[in-house]
């Protein structure tokens, strides 16, 4: 069981570092949703199903949507084409 927790924590840490290091705002929002996904698994592994369900409801659906709409409205949403190259 300890290896499962270590693997989930590794995924969460990699996604959190990606949030800090990526300069693409779309990728940062997607990585934030992956952090909340790993947090849901950790809450479920700690035998707290109600907290995990609340985190799934908030983190998966609502958080990424609000972040995307807010960043788009603020104008920080960087435009990139299909190859990932940013055209300013």
């Amino acid at each position: 069981m300890i290896w499962i927790v270590a693997f989930v924590v590794f995924i969460m840490l990699a996604a959190a570092i990606a949030v800090l290091l990526l300069d693409n705002m779309v990728a940062a929002v997607v990585a934030t949703s992956v952090v909340s996904l790993a947090l849901t698994i950790i809450f479920a592994l700690l035998r707290a199903p109600d907290v995990a369900m609340t985190e799934a409801a908030i983190g998966a659906g609502l958080s990424s949507l609000i972040l995307a709409i807010g960043l788009k409205r603020l104008g920080y949403w960087k435009i990139s084409d299909a190859k990932g190259e940013k055209n300013d």
Binding site: A18, V30, L37, I41, K83, G84
Partner: protein
């Protein structure tokens, strides 16, 4: 945990690692969004295995809620991406 459960968890871990690679180093935004979608599906399957391991029914509800809401979130992100790419129309410049 039986041996079959441990093997299945290993397969889930390998799938999550490959998906995580595409999330971190994916060249385009669509790659990252699709990898997040696949990772949420892998998470739902893992929560089902958790219900099997803990022998409890409560974790099935978490898997259900997570599947529905991650679908809604991914669809919303895809719509935001789609309406953005018509031209270099940026709200900060207006």
């Amino acid at each position: 945990m039986t041996t079959l459960t441990i093997i299945a968890l290993g397969f889930i871990a390998v799938a999550a690692l490959f998906t995580l690679y595409r999330l971190l180093f994916g060249p385009s935004n669509a790659d990252r969004i699709i990898s997040a979608d696949a990772l949420s599906l892998i998470t739902a399957v893992f929560l089902l295995f958790l219900a099997l391991i803990f022998d409890s029914v409560l974790y099935l509800d978490i898997a259900l809620v997570y599947s529905i809401l991650s679908f809604v979130g991914i669809i919303a992100l895809a719509r935001v991406i789609e309406t953005k790419t018509n031209n270099s129309k940026n709200l900060g410049e207006d």
